[in-house]
């Protein structure tokens, strides 16, 4: 802490008084004192105003910012809508603003107490929006910006992370949440441009820090989608997500309590057979179809039909019931206290979230957050802010063999057959040895037998800001900020040795026949330390109808990462600590990256009608070779409010049809030092020559020697990748501003993507490949629009809104493409193709496959079919098998018959949409939010594609199959079905061994995200119990979905081919909001 405060002082001395050297700190202090004296002298003349801000139906509005116009003197309203503020004089103007509401200005005059109604920002133009290094009203914005406030986010009690709350809320955000385990996050991008930059309270942060903020502490989330992001500079090329946390309000102190509890169930998961008779009869059918015969006799089947009465071995066991335990709980409590006076305000909040899962009760997530935001006026014109936030994030589950500890439990559902049982002789003292299926015996996947895993993140961040209104120069303020972030990850995993038994009925002996003798103990520790220093000068002033603004920022960032991992084989399961003699692997890493940015921005506005903004950056990154570190990136944008033009006003003649119309456009260039996956564009130190140490171990003369290897030829030719974003937009308000909307068209062209030059073919014998260079380009093009309607009918207030976005990535150029023939080009050329459409797509595409033109209807049709489908003269085919189109008409099906059939299975959807409906009547409020997407692909494979995959159980979808009336009778008639005739685990069959239009599904879904009904207790009753507010609600998430994957029993957003991904949950919550 000592170092921290030293750093803080050190940097702020400079931030506040840039003209001074450090030695002149004394001078600075003197100046502060003078200012303070000045302040107290002025206080006498000041006036104190109070008031309450309400919405259109008279409900008090919390978190409304009240500013004395032209100054940074501001406060915000409490939970009861009240505020207190000292202003300079009667001539001061109060500005009331809140995200989602139209700003309102009132001259103080002789009044001291105000009752201010605030209108919901129907047209969105008066809304206040957080933009780079400051805020703006929406009407003056010239870039593509969308924002969402806590009021919308607070309704989502879904998964545990912030990203999962954003589905369908913001036009331009692409969303897919393939995995729904406790603590999971959604995959989000802005306009499919790549990993966005997250900025939390002005500091660049990683995705993990964003996701694990307590949603209660978030005031607003803004996304900057075009050149307006440029101001955030280094790494802003894929758009920026700006998060602002809540601040304290002046006036009375408020205590808020928010809590909810709920139950979760999986939306969908593949269903399997749960009865041995079914399993055996389908298996017999499959074996006959595969081999022509089966060992399962009809007499035997008859016994399975009788079940246990025919003998113990004919019983059934329902694994999915055994593994999946319904109604897993989740709950969250948040307590925050905020308040303040005109000198100091504070917001202190604590949140705890707990999530369990349906995979038994030992798979869970817990997170505790603390947030404390304090601002103080330390002298006249000098404000100081301290924001400290911390969290502990814990994931706990049994320590399970394999990479993903959640995998085996899910796999158990599909792999274990109803004939298998968890305990030998059903005696829970003896784990049953299921042979090859042993590890999916769910009976062992718990903390007692298989082990323990605990992963904990502990994060602490402190931001210090100092803001100084420079005396003597009106409109100029200087601001400095220093941020220190430390994140600590500790993972402990111990996988036990265990025994599995086979019961011998004849001798009544439990014999140990399997298990694990190889214990696995690992510990992983990561520390991230990020520091960020910003100094900034802002100038804002209005001269008549001209408004001028200028911002200059210098910032420095340093990110350090320390990592170590060790492995041991403890001699006993009962030793939770690690001892040196059992340790056999140790891996130690350290890395550091530094970046520097200088930013200048200039704004000009005329008569609230014309707006212009010009910005420029100079960025440097430590990744590049010293002479190639610096990049310059300019940007400009302009806006024109047509409805402010006199001629337009005349034309409209006071009619209320068109209330507002703004045209805007922007162009900007941004630099990026990351590659397309978000990793470093070039490895650190790649420009240096030398040896990499720690490249393995050699045993020399009986001793272990850590070895070194030449790092290869220096890579000196890589520099910044450049994104060029063009955006044209339109904002409008119609019909007494009840209908508002906006439309954007954009094109992001990106140059300097690294690739290999191929026109010089150097012999492989030189022993290295030529380093990559900045040579390729791609583009994301698209559009988005949103529309909102707000009105009131009698006592019912309601709003309906929706948004739609389209953003699709495409490769523009590759370097000197060479193809051997036209097929090679058709298959491998990436130029001017949408991503996800070619094999060597850098973003993981590859949805090429065969076109299925039907299914064989009879043996006769197969015998007469001239195209060789299976490569074996069609002798493996049965009625119901897939007929592939012979595209090149050569009489056989091979790779030349493939065409593009999907949009990319691993990609985010390129069409996203959402709509929302809200209504309030007296004490009741109701909301329903939908979101949906289209333009991505699911590939049905493995367990989802062929029967008895991996010698496992049968997925129930295959019950609808082609089959004979009597499988034992070769002359029996065929009955048609959806899927080809069953085979026993024959993934190599021509039906299954290739991707085709039969198995690939281009997905479209629309799902109900949040449905909420709330009731607010009337203030008359509350005042008797000294409460400001009490609201109770019921809330449902993911209640239903319309999509084309329902028939396969899988969630529409799933990504894993085998359908066994942990799906999203359907959640029911009950909650309460209380304020005191």
């Amino acid at each position: 802490m000592k170092t921290l405060s030293r750093f803080f002082l050190h940097n702020f001395a400079f931030a506040a008084l840039p003209f001074l050297r450090q030695k002149k700190l004394l001078y600075l202090l003197t100046l502060f004192l003078i200012s303070a004296v000045h302040l107290s002298a002025q206080d006498a003349a000041r006036v104190t105003v109070t008031g309450v801000v309400k919405d259109s139906v008279g409900a008090p509005l919390p978190q409304v910012t009240v500013t004395e116009k032209g100054t940074s003197n501001a406060t915000s309203t409490g939970a009861d809508g009240r505020f207190t503020l000292q202003v300079a004089s009667d001539h001061s103007i109060l500005v009331f603003s809140s995200i989602g509401y139209s700003a309102s200005e009132i001259r103080v005059g002789s009044r001291r107490d105000f009752d201010v109604p605030l209108q919901i920002a129907n047209n969105g133009l008066g809304e206040v929006v957080v933009v780079g290094y400051g805020t703006k009203t929406k009407q003056s914005i010239t870039g593509a910006v969308s924002s969402v406030s806590s009021r919308d986010l607070d309704r989502v009690h879904a998964a545990s992370t912030v990203s999962s709350t954003l589905a369908g809320k913001l036009p331009g955000v692409t969303f897919r949440m393939p995995d729904g385990r406790p603590g999971a996050s959604a995959r989000i991008q802005i306009r499919n441009m790549g990993t966005p930059l997250y900025v939390i309270d002005g500091i660049q942060q990683d995705e993990g820090q964003f996701n694990n903020l307590a949603p209660n502490d978030i005031e607003s989330i803004t996304i900057l989608k075009d050149a307006s992001a440029a101001i955030y500079g280094v790494r802003a090329a894929n758009g920026v997500v700006v998060v602002t946390t809540k601040k304290g309000s002046t006036g009375r102190n408020t205590i808020n309590f928010d809590g909810y509890a709920g139950i979760q169930n999986w939306t969908r998961f593949p269903k399997v057979l749960n009865n041995s008779y079914d399993y055996m009869r389908y298996r017999a059918e499959a074996e006959i179809n595969s081999n022509g015969n089966t060992n399962i006799t009809e007499e035997e089947l008859e016994k399975y039909k009788q079940g246990e009465s025919a003998g113990k071995q004919y019983r059934s066991f329902d694994w999915s019931k055994y593994v999946l335990q319904k109604n897993a709980t989740q709950n969250s409590v948040n307590l925050n206290i905020n308040g303040g006076n005109d000198k100091v305000n504070y917001y202190v909040s604590a949140t705890n979230l707990y999530q369990n899962s349906v995979l038994g009760r030992e798979y869970k997530f817990n997170r505790s957050n603390l947030q404390s935001n304090v601002q103080a006026k330390v002298a006249n014109g000098l404000r100081m802010g301290v924001q400290i936030n911390g969290r502990i994030e814990t994931r706990q589950n049994p320590g399970v063999p394999g990479g993903d500890d959640y995998w085996l439990s899910r796999f158990a559902v599909l792999r274990n057959t109803p004939r298998e049982r968890p305990w030998a002789n059903d005696n829970p003292k003896y784990l049953n040895d299921l042979g090859e299926h042993l590890e999916t015996n769910y009976a062992f996947l718990n903390e007692t037998i298989s082990g323990k895993l605990k992963s904990e993140w502990r994060v602490l961040q402190a931001n210090y800001t100092l803001e100084w209104q420079v005396p003597g120069i009106k409109g100029l303020n200087l601001r400095g900020m220093y941020s220190y972030y430390i994140a600590d990850h500790l993972l402990n995993n111990q996988e036990y040795t265990y025994d599995a038994y086979t019961y011998h009925e004849d001798t009544d002996v439990y014999e140990r026949t399997g298990g694990a003798t190889n214990p696995w103990r690992e510990r992983e520790q990561t520390k991230l330390i990020n520091t960020n220093t910003q100094v900034q000068a802002n100038y804002n002033r209005t001269f008549g109808e001209h408004t001028i603004g200028a911002t200059v920022v210098a910032e420095r960032m340093n990110n350090k990462r320390f990592y170590n991992w060790l492995h041991a084989s403890p001699i006993s399961n009962n030793l939770p600590l690690i001892y040196f003699p059992t340790m056999d692997q140790y891996n130690d890493q350290q890395s550091e990256i530094a970046r520097i940015g200088y930013i200048g921005r200039f704004n000009y506005g005329f008569a609230n009608r014309y707006f212009l903004e010009i910005s420029a950056r100079r960025d440097a990154s430590s990744l590049f070779e010293p002479s190639r570190r610096v990049g310059y990136f300019p940007g400009a944008s302009a806006g024109w409010r047509i409805t402010e033009e006199p001629f337009m006003k005349k034309l409209l003649g006071g009619s209320d049809i068109l209330n507002d119309l703004k045209l805007r456009g922007s162009y900007g260039e941004l630099g990026d030092d990351r590659n397309l996956d978000g990793g470093d564009i070039v490895a650190p130190y790649a420009y240096m020559e030398g040896y990499n140490y720690n490249m393995g171990t050699a045993i020399i003369n009986g001793n272990a020697v850590t070895v070194s290897r030449d790092k290869g030829v220096p890579i000196t030719r890589i520099t910044w990748m450049t994104s060029k974003i063009t955006d044209v937009g339109l904002d409008f308000a119609l019909f007494r501003s009840r209908l508002a909307g906006s439309f954007d068209w954009f094109n992001r062209k990106r140059d300097g993507i690294v690739g290999n030059k191929n026109d010089v073919l150097v012999p492989i014998e030189i022993g290295y490949s030529l380093p990559q260079e900045n040579i390729e380009s791609d583009a994301v093009k698209g559009f988005e629009f949103s529309l909102n309607w707000n009105d009131q009918i009698g006592d019912v207030r309601y709003n309906v809104g929706g948004n739609f976005s389209y953003a699709r990535q495409r490769t523009l150029s590759t370097y000197n493409p060479l193809f051997f023939n036209s097929w090679d080009q058709y298959f491998n050329d990436r130029r001017d193709r949408y991503s996800g459409g070619n094999w060597n797509d850098k973003n993981g595409g590859g949805d090429w496959g065969y076109e299925v033109i039907g299914q064989f209807q009879s043996m006769e049709e197969i015998n007469n079919y001239t195209v060789n489908i299976d490569g074996l003269g069609n002798k493996t085919l049965l009625p119901g098998d897939l007929i592939y189109k012979d595209i090149n008409n050569d009489g056989k099906i091979d790779s030349y018959d493939m065409r593009r059939v999907g949009y990319g299975t691993g990609r985010l959807p390129f069409i996203n949409f959402g709509f929302t409906l809200g209504a309030a009547y007296k004490a009741f409020d109701f909301h329903i939010d939908f979101s949906g997407a289209s333009g991505y692909t699911y590939n049905q494979n493995w367990e989802m594609r062929w029967a008895f995959q991996n010698n496992g159980n049968l997925n129930k979808i295959f019950e609808d199959r082609w089959h004979k009336v009597n499988p034992y009778d070769p002359n029996s008639a065929w009955v048609a079905g959806k899927y080809p005739a069953l085979r026993y685990n024959q993934g190599g069959h021509s039906n299954y061994n290739r991707n085709s239009t039969f198995w690939l599904h281009n997905v479209t879904y629309l799902r109900a995200r949040t449905i909420e009904l709330g009731y607010t207790v009337s203030s008359k009753i509350l005042s008797r119990v000294k409460m400001q507010r009490a609201r109770f609600y019921l809330n449902a998430y993911n209640l239903f979905s319309f999509d084309n994957l329902k028939q396969y029993n899988i969630d529409p957003e799933i990504q894993d081919d085998n359908g066994l991904q942990f799906p999203q949950n359907k959640i029911l919550n009950a909650g309460v909001n209380l304020s005191f």
């Binding site: 050190h10 400079f14 840039p18 003209f19 050297r21 450090q22 042993l438 200087l478 400095g480 399997g514 694990a516 003798t517 190889n518 100094v535 900034q536 000068a537 100038y539 200028a550 200059v552 210098a554 492995h567 084989s569 056999d584 890493q589 350290q590 990256i593 530094a594 970046r595 200088y598 440097a620 010293p626 650190p684 130190y685 030398g690 040896y691 140490y693 720690n694 050699a698 045993i699 020399i700 003369n701 009986g702 001793n703 272990a704 020697v705 850590t706 070895v707 070194s708 290897r709 030449d710 790092k711 010089v760 073919l761 150097v762 012999p763 492989i764 014998e765 030189i766 022993g767 030529l770």
Partner: protein, 622 residues
């Protein structure tokens, strides 16, 4: 206005630069990158670089390179479902066994260049420098030897090359050297460096004089036999010499091979001897590959491993007998074939098939291992037969039971009362499917079969036993059969064979046979059969029957295209009740037949390589 902006910019810049200059802030010193000057001024770091170059040596079969290369060539059966292709395919692709790692060559050349430029100092003596240089050259020669074995002549590059970005890379295009030129390079390098290397075997993980001579002897022997036997496959050559060596050069190479071997045999490269530490000759033979102490004077150059120190291998995990596995289901992949087992002679030095009787009348044995008694000690030193012990437990190899009427009673699961825990069951992986498990290299240490711990048995690249056989072969080819018999008898006597060979007994079949049984599972068979040009005859693509195996014992060109097994059954009733009979069995998964084509003699050179360097000529017959 303008003033304000100017002041602000100047102010901000001053503010930041007050702490640190931009370039200082961005220049972050690396922690894992060592500059060359630092490395080559510190012997410990030079050894660290050299350690990597040692680690990257390419072996055909190595203990950390997976178990599959051991399982090929019908010498064994792969008991892992994913490796079925070894016995279901009908031969090998032209690309197999190729190697073209010029990245390794570049790193070797960089090492030699930088080492050569290093000034002798108090920290690095002249002797150190000479030894480091000699080791680098040894590794480079050894890898060129590995390349020429597989590819024939390759571009001989002995200095690091760098492209100048001027657009014309033709100056970097080096054509393939003649096959003989690469062998000559290996031989001359060995001769030049041998006296800079230690003439003792104190550290076998580093190059020594004996290692250089062993390499030289093997390389010269290969070159000699390619020159001599290349005549039998005249199409396996290129007129420009990149493939094939003139017959006239054969004697020259054989002479070098014999001389280099003799230099080791006469102890001038340090004390070497055949391993004779244990009285039980079978145990003794197995111990050659396990004993890493100074008692072992047979191993010359090894790849060493060390448990709990960061370098172990999974050979034992992969191949341990199922019933003795340290790791649940991880076991039993490598099952030696009956084809190999039958090759081991009786102790009197004669060939005889294992006496199992005929299908009409099987011979019954009281104990399983009785069938294998009285054989060459190398049989049970190399292979775990039914009834053998491993890690103090007897293996449970039992295919089922048989009635006196000849009806087999069995099941498709192992480990019950009918079938042994160790198999065999057709198609049941990780248990033997031939009736045998591997013993050579298998680590008897507790825990060595665990995936986490691994085994630290060392892989022996050169050993004295092979040097003697190299000398024997060279002598035989040079028309000195008595000398050859002397060398071979040393090896055979150690295996317990009581009747020595005479000069008259020495012929080509004997030479081939001795290497097959002595050096089984050491990575020799493919290259031996290639250089003798008999690979296309032994693996000729015709199915192998049981009689093919037992009727041609000791014949160099007898075919061996499919691995067979020998399954033990316990007799249920009758006079032989409780005794064991054996039935020859071809595992049902063996559906392919090995066919070695003339185009397989030299591995294909990839299109990418030839496209980038058009001076590289194609291999013959492809």
């Amino acid at each position: 206005m303008k003033k304000i902006i100017v002041y602000s910019i100047v102010g901000l810049a001053t503010a930041l630069s007050g702490c640190k200059k931009d370039s200082d802030f961005l220049d972050i010193p690396p922690v894992q990158v060592l500059p060359s000057e630092t490395v080559f001024s510190d012997p410990a770091l030079i050894l660290s670089v050299l350690g990597d170059l040692y680690n990257r040596q390419v072996d055909f079969s190595s203990l950390d390179g997976g178990w599959r290369t051991f399982a090929d060539f019908s010498e064994s059966f792969p008991s892992e479902n994913g490796s079925d292709f070894l016995v279901t395919r009908s031969g090998w692709g032209y690309g197999e066994w190729g190697t073209w790692d010029y990245g390794y060559i570049r790193d070797l050349n960089l090492f030699l260049q930088r080492m050569d430029a290093t000034e002798v100092s108090t920290k690095i003596t002249a002797g150190d420098k000479a030894r480091f240089l000699a080791e680098g050259r040894f590794l480079r020669a050894n890898y060129y030897f590995e390349m020429v074995k597989r590819m024939g002549g390759v571009p001989l590059i002995i200095e690091p090359m760098q492209y100048d970005y001027k657009g014309d890379p033709t100056y970097l295009q080096r054509p393939r050297a003649k096959e003989a030129e690469i062998y000559d390079f290996v031989i001359s390098e060995a001769e030049e460096i041998k006296n800079d290397l230690p003439a003792n075997l104190a550290d076998k993980s580093r190059a020594t004089k004996a290692a250089a001579l062993a390499m030289e002897s093997r390389a010269a022997l290969y070159a000699g036999s390619i020159a001599k036997y290349g005549a039998t496959t005249p199409t396996v050559s290129l007129s420009t010499g990149e493939v094939g060596i003139a017959a006239s050069q054969a004697n020259g190479y054989y002479t070098i091979a014999l001389r280099a071997a003799n230099e080791i045999i006469d102890q001038s490269a340090g004390t070497v001897s055949l391993y004779r530490a244990l009285p039980d000759l079978e145990e003794n033979f197995a111990a050659i590959f396990l004993d890493k102490s100074s008692v072992n004077q047979e191993s010359i150059f090894i790849e060493d491993f060390k448990a709990f120190a960061g370098k172990t291998h999974g050979f034992t995990t992969n191949d341990q007998p199922y019933s003795r596995s340290d790791e649940g289901g991880d076991a039993g992949r490598l099952n030696p074939s009956l084809n190999l087992v039958e090759q081991f002679e009786l102790l009197n030095g004669t060939f005889a098939p294992l006496p199992i009787g005929t299908s009409a009348s099987r011979i019954a044995y009281n104990n399983q291992e009785d069938l294998f008694a009285g054989r060459d000690a190398r049989l049970r030193g190399t292979i775990l037969v039914p009834g053998a012990y491993f890690k103090s437990g007897q293996l449970k190899i039992k295919a089922g039971e048989i009635t006196s009427a000849g009806t087999i009673v069995t099941t498709d699961a192992s480990g019950g009362s009918l079938v042994g825990t160790d198999g065999p069951v057709n198609g049941l992986e990780f248990r033997t499917q031939t009736g045998f498990y591997i013993r050579k290299w298998l680590d008897p240490q507790t825990g060595s079969g665990r995936r986490g711990r691994g085994s630290d048995v060392a892989f022996i690249r050169y050993r004295f036993g092979e040097v003697l056989l190299n000398a024997a072969e060279a002598a035989f080819e040079l028309g000195q059969p008595a000398v050859a018999a002397g060398f071979m008898n040393q090896v055979r006597e150690r295996a317990g064979i009581t009747t020595p060979l005479t000069a008259a007994d020495i012929n080509f079949d004997r030479i081939v046979h001795e290497r097959r049984v002595e050096l089984a599972f050491e990575g020799h068979i493919l290259f031996d059969y290639k250089r003798w040009r008999i690979a296309d005859k032994v693996w000729n693509g015709d199915a192998t029957s049981y009689s093919d195996i037992i009727n041609n014992l000791g014949k160099a060109t007898a075919k061996s295209t499919q691995p067979w097994g020998l399954w033990p059954y316990r007799v249920q009733d009758g006079a032989n009740a409780g005794k064991w009979i054996y039935i020859e069995t071809k595992p049902s998964r063996v559906t392919g037949v090995n066919r070695f084509q003339l185009g397989n003699y030299y591995s294909a050179i990839g299109d990418d390589i030839r496209a980038a360097n058009p001076t590289i000529v194609r291999q013959p017959n492809q």
